[in-house]
Symmetry: C2
């Protein structure tokens, strides 16, 4: 290959949207394997046989790369939750229960797959607070919607459904916060199903049996 | 002072129970000012004009010093909580509400006074798990006692008071865990009073007005 063809290939590869994805995939693997703190943009570039300057054309800092990785992960779990909220044939109690189970299961799996996840999350929380805040708000938003719908149909008796939905979210932080789940897996906590029952009682579910379909 | 008198004074000082306290006070100040990680036993010894070997006669490691500091702090908050549980003239709802407020206020104050508290807590949680576990168990124990008493008198309708008390405790982790409170003070959370109302509903308080004395 002559020099011009070489250059053309580089240009095609770099302008391709897959280059962005490849940077994110490589970054995520580094964050998982050696941790966020120890990863450098130079490591990522070297693995991709790019110059650091080329990586910087897509992301202006390691912080921006982490934001994009965290954004991708949070969007995935938000899609799962939104699907449960919209799934036909479930009572509001069942939706709440299944959302809480899914948030916990997803967090647990990600922490097991990535023992250094807390470094990424801690970095995102201290350097990119808006990304985290919006994620928390979106999950709370889905819970609020389900509680509001349950109050409308009379399944719940929550006086302030918006507040109640946010209370459900904050009450499960022990089961769904990657820092707590990854760093303190042995901290005592009631079984998740007992916690779900407790939260449904707070929502004023009239009959516990009503949570199961006939 | 001759050499023998000097030696005698050193022996008296070292055997005194106050030497142990002075080591703990000095250690706590170092942990607060420069952080747990950067503090060395040599720093503590030097400040007290002792040799590190003398400090090691009282505590076999920095870890043991941190355990004693954490133990002292946790015993203080446990005493506050136990006093509320035993205070005459309060309903069970009022006791729960006041315990949650006190745990939150105490955590907030300690985090404000000591911005590096999470280092001590993280070290204790990873190196001295039993100290933390026993603290969590003792606080849960008090909450379980209050919920059980409330269920006995009919104020609460909790089917499993022991589990319900533990659920209350885990639900307030966002408001009372020094790592969350000190590291992520801006994480969204409902106002504490709204959360307390939510938890009391989960305990099946028959009439919300019953929480206030006539």
């Amino acid at each position: 290959m002559n020099h011009d063809a070489d250059q053309a290939l580089v240009l095609v590869e770099e302008s391709s949207p897959t280059t962005r994805c490849r940077i994110l995939e490589t970054a995520e693997r580094f964050f998982r394997e050696i941790g966020y703190q120890k990863t450098t943009v130079a490591d990522i570039a070297k693995t991709l046989r790019m110059s650091p300057a080329n990586v910087y054309r897509f992301f202006d800092s390691k912080k921006s790369i982490n934001e994009a990785v965290v954004e991708r992960v949070t969007r995935e779990v938000e899609a799962l939750i939104a699907a449960i909220a919209a799934q036909p044939g479930l009572s509001a109690s069942e939706r709440i229960a299944e959302i809480v189970r899914t948030l916990h299961r997803d967090c647990l799996k990600r922490c097991q797959d990535n023992p250094r996840i807390h470094e990424m999350v801690e970095a995102a929380m201290s350097e990119s607070w808006d990304v985290c805040r919006h994620h928390v708000d979106r999950i709370s938003g889905v819970l609020v919607r389900v509680v509001t719908e349950g109050a409308r149909t009379g399944e719940f008796v929550a006086e302030d459904p918006a507040m109640a939905g946010q209370c459900v979210h904050v009450a499960i932080v022990r089961y769904c916060h990657p820092v707590l789940v990854s760093q303190y897996p042995n901290a005592p906590a009631p079984p998740l199903e007992a916690m779900i029952g407790f939260l449904l009682r707070a929502l004023g579910t009239r009959a516990p049996g009503a949570a199961s379909p006939a």
